[in-house]
């Protein structure tokens, strides 16, 4: 059973009088519980693909079934609900709210799903403990290192028990040691919490942490390989 199914997905951006195709006829299936890396050189269309998968953007043509639901027919508010309930994002630039403590940042998805205050705090604290930030819960982002900020972002992505985590170059702003720690954390979330993880990266070393690597070149899937650990 596929959690994610892409059929002939194309995406192009307007360029001058015509169109610039970025994604060309992408067909892809991802099952529940997989840890997939989407790998390719810069500008190959990885982020564009991830934005479509993450319901932040819509394809120009083709069909996207998320949990057997056709995304095309949904309104922007329905997409917001899907992002809230089914998807957690981790970005290269962390994208935490400034002047807002770690625990409040982690509470944010639950604010929009209407979880009550005490429950919100309890779950947020638990998520921060899960990512190893027990001691830093009430720090603000500017008081945390890059690795710690990314852990807060991961806690925010898992707190609402969303089954899918999308991570776009999550180690792009981190040094090697921290990158490895973050990748181990993803492996752990995949293994222990059974989260489906879709990782976007241009680095072979990082992609190797996943169980499957989908290579993208020029907006097309070139190789889809299993990783032997």
């Amino acid at each position: 059973m596929s959690l994610i199914e892409l059929k002939n997905i194309c995406k192009s951006y307007p360029l001058g009088d015509g169109e610039l195709p970025i994604l060309k006829n992408i067909n892809l299936q991802i099952k529940n519980g997989e840890f997939v890396a989407i790998m390719g050189p810069s500008g190959s269309g990885k982020s564009t693909l991830m934005n479509i998968l993450g319901c932040l953007d819509k394809p120009s043509s083709g069909q996207y079934l998320l949990d057997h639901k056709n995304i095309e027919s949904l309104s922007s508010d329905e997409l917001a609900d899907i992002r809230n309930q089914m998807i957690g994002f981790v970005f290269q630039g962390f994208n935490l709210l400034s002047r807002t403590s770690a625990v409040e940042n982690v509470e944010l998805p639950m604010v929009y799903s209407g979880v009550d205050k005490t429950e919100r705090r309890r779950k947020a604290e638990k998520a921060l403990i899960d990512v190893g930030l027990k001691e830093r819960m009430y720090h603000q982002p500017n008081q945390l290192s890059g690795g710690q900020q990314q852990r807060v972002a991961i806690a925010r992505a898992i707190v609402n028990e969303a089954p899918i985590i999308f991570a776009d170059e999550p180690t792009g702003n981190l040094d090697t040691k921290m990158s490895v720690e973050i990748m181990h954390l993803f492996q752990q979330l995949n293994r222990d919490l059974k989260r489906t993880i879709i990782l976007v990266t241009h680095e072979e070393d990082i992609a190797r942490f996943a169980d499957r690597i989908i290579h993208i070149v020029d907006g097309e899937i070139s190789i889809d390989e299993k990783v032997m650990h």
Partner: protein
């Protein structure tokens, strides 16, 4: 998928945090609302105060009084008034008193402001030419000395009766009786001093006045357009009912005396106390509305300030909006976050404005410049108006924020 209900307190906290993050900017933004609300409250209090004064003034005058002035009455109220063509005569008043049984007494009034001098002291006050009927109608007794006698009026003698304030200013401890004062250079002998009356309902000192015989005023002191001219006739009816029922008779008599043909308008205005009060209340009501509207404009300008700063805030926080959208905020969640922020901004401004407005009204009242009268309604009105302004001018920036595309918002530098 279930739709969540977000705590309003969460949104409120976000708004407070955003406002606190830019304290100075928030205060400057609210300044327009602060000034607007304070101005509206003060203006309404002044208008309200003026209305109250008029009511007090009228109450103190006695219910049976009527006035006839030169002028043209129109259906919309009173036009002309003091500046219009003079038409009333002393003999008009006498004829009314004589022929109309419902009228007990008719006092002529011809008055102007002038400077008076005693020895080397001078004082500016109001000079009224009249006769004893004036004091009778006003129930105003002589404190010492005498009132006018028949020969004073008949011979236009240069005698004067003074109010207490004039006595204090010109004579101090000196006995004013039989002393000579000069009014516009003309010598007058002081024959009497009136009892102290104090301020009237509008805060005017009634004792700051000088009275001379009507004939002297007409012939020797004031410029008149025709020999027997008066500015006004003050009437006393036999009862308050008659101040209404006598008006038709008076009108008929005056139209006949002024030779007005059937197609001519009245060249005089008859008003009883209630009508005078209504007229003055109307004009203060118009004043209140005018002042209030002018003040409301500053409230609107304040609203534009809020819109301006909210647009800045939305742009500054584009990335935050993108994060919130990616995490699952619906467009309405974003919209009401910014609406709440502008609402809080305008309510804070409104609250400070209310405080300043109330204090301002008290200061104006205490300084004696004007009477002010605060009412709960006139405080709540501008306060809630400020909230409305916040909602109205906050809506567009909030709407703009909610329409952002999450990807573009997340990419915003």
């Amino acid at each position: 998928m279930k739709k969540h209900s977000i705590d309003i307190s969460v949104i409120f906290n976000i708004a407070i945090r955003a406002i606190k993050a830019n304290k100075m900017r928030s205060i400057l933004t609210s300044l327009g609302i602060i000034i607007g609300v304070a101005a509206v409250i003060v203006m309404l209090a002044i208008g309200n105060g003026a209305q109250k004064s008029i009511q007090n003034e009228m109450k103190s005058m006695g219910a049976n009084i009527m006035m006839i002035r030169s002028g043209v009455a129109t259906s919309g109220g009173v036009r002309g008034g003091f500046g219009s063509q003079p038409t009333m005569k002393l003999s008009d008043g006498n004829a009314i008193e004589e022929k109309i049984s419902k009228i007990k007494s008719a006092a002529p009034v011809l008055s102007e402001g002038a400077q008076i001098i005693y020895a080397n002291t001078n004082w500016s006050t109001n000079i009224t030419g009249t006769d004893n009927r004036y004091f009778e109608i006003k129930e105003w007794a002589i404190d010492y000395g005498r009132s006018f006698v028949e020969t004073d009026v008949k011979n236009a003698t240069k005698v004067a009766i003074l109010g207490q304030t004039v006595v204090n200013e010109l004579f101090g401890d000196v006995d004013p009786l039989n002393r000579t004062i000069r009014i516009k250079g003309v010598p007058f002998v002081v024959i009497g001093v009136l009892e102290k009356r104090g301020e009237n309902g509008m805060g005017q000192d009634q004792d700051d006045a000088v009275f001379i015989p009507i004939s002297t005023a007409q012939k020797k002191l004031m410029g008149v357009s025709f020999p027997d001219q008066v500015h006004m006739v003050m009437l006393q009816a036999i009862d308050s009912q008659s101040t209404y029922t006598s008006q038709d008779e008076i009108r008929a008599l005056l139209r006949q005396r002024h030779n007005l043909g059937a197609n001519k308008d009245d060249d005089f205005i008859i008003m009883n106390l209630t009508q005078m009060m209504e007229m003055m209340e109307n004009s203060t009501k118009i004043m209140t509305i005018l002042l209030g509207s002018i003040a409301s404009i500053s409230l609107l300008v304040g609203g534009i300030g809020i819109m301006n700063i909210m647009l800045v805030s939305v742009t500054e926080r584009t990335r935050e909006i993108g994060i919130r959208m990616a995490i699952g905020a619906r467009s309405w969640d974003i919209r009401r976050q910014f609406l709440m922020e502008s609402l809080v901004l305008s309510f804070i401004g409104g609250l400070i404005g209310v405080i300043i407005g109330i204090i301002g009204s008290f200061i104006i009242s205490a300084s004696g410049a004007m009477t002010t009268e605060l009412s709960l309604f006139y405080v709540i009105l501008p306060f809630s108006f400020s909230g409305l302004v916040g909602l109205f001018f906050g809506y567009f920036p909030a709407y703009k924020a909610s329409l952002l595309n999450p990807i573009n918002a997340l990419r915003y530098e």
